[in-house]
Symmetry: C2
Subunit: 144 residues, 2 copies
DNA sequence: CTACATGCTATAGTGACTGTAGGTTCAAGG
DNA sequence: CCTTGAACCTACAGTCACTATAGCATGTAG
């Protein structure tokens, strides 16, 4: 049906950049589309659906490798969906870990900003807290 | 006092990698240290303090450019600390934005995972939700 | 038929490191 | 004094998911 999508129109529909679509093709996430005699890409609805899947999963924080796996799984609809479930749970756990890490940072940053007396840099609490080697005021220990 | 720190010992103290310290030097965040006749780096306490400052700021989510600015400001202790304060507030705002984005994702992921009936991929809710072009169940609209 | 928007490939840049290759230096033990 | 081997050195590639650029080629509207 809706054939003849140029890469630009497809990008517009999916709210992506043209380069991103070419990048997904290069990464094997999007199948190579038909080409005009002049070599330009022409997409159809199946491509548009697949791109929408990828973008939605990316917005939810799925890494490309996980998306690749989900796309492979969804090509095989009779398999049990345990693996799909576990990929999603991993992403959820990752998101939750990031949230708790950021909450701890937020508390420390808020205290830091609150303590600032707006004087001179020499007495600045913000600088003082950052320079505090002992981390005595610090709640957090993980990484980004 | 505590001179003669090799890059390895400094890395150990600061819980960083050796390469990270060399990277900070290359980026102008750490001043070039003394060298032995054979060309190996030897650090002192001032270096250790500066590295601790950088690491603590990084853990709090300050980007390297912001850290560079804070280090420059702290070299000039008579200046007003308004700029320091505003850099810290920017980082706080950034952290808070990331938290609310992630909270929205968490809600959608949790619902997705909850709806999974552990059947076959063909009927999997997780795949279904991700494929849902309309985003009708989707709370979020921003980027990572 | 001519503009010119859009497309093409290839390559480099982003941020903040991390890892590797291939070689050199240092400190301790024999 | 000499050897061993851990730790050091530089330079560069890789990570992730794009994004941007340069220098052409194509497609379409007027």
């Amino acid at each position: 049906m809706a054939e003849d999508l140029t890469i630009g129109k497809l990008a517009l529909r999916a709210s992506t950049k043209v380069q991103t679509i070419r990048f997904y093709e290069q990464e094997g996430l999007m199948p190579p589309p038909a080409r005009t005699s002049g070599g330009q890409r022409r997409y159809d609805k199946a491509h548009a659906d697949r791109l929408a899947f990828i973008r939605h999963a990316r917005e939810l924080g799925f890494p490309l490798d996980a998306i690749r796996e989900l796309l492979n799984l969804s090509d095989d609809p009779d398999q049990p969906c345990a693996r799909v479930d576990s990929v999603a749970r991993e992403v959820l756990a990752d998101v939750e870990a990031k949230i708790s890490r950021l909450e701890a940072l937020r508390i420390e940053l808020k205290r830091m900003v609150r303590q600032c007396k707006h004087g001179r840099v020499g007495e600045c609490r913000v600088i003082r807290v950052l320079a505090d080697h002992s981390h005595s005021n610090c709640l957090s220990h993980g990484h980004d």
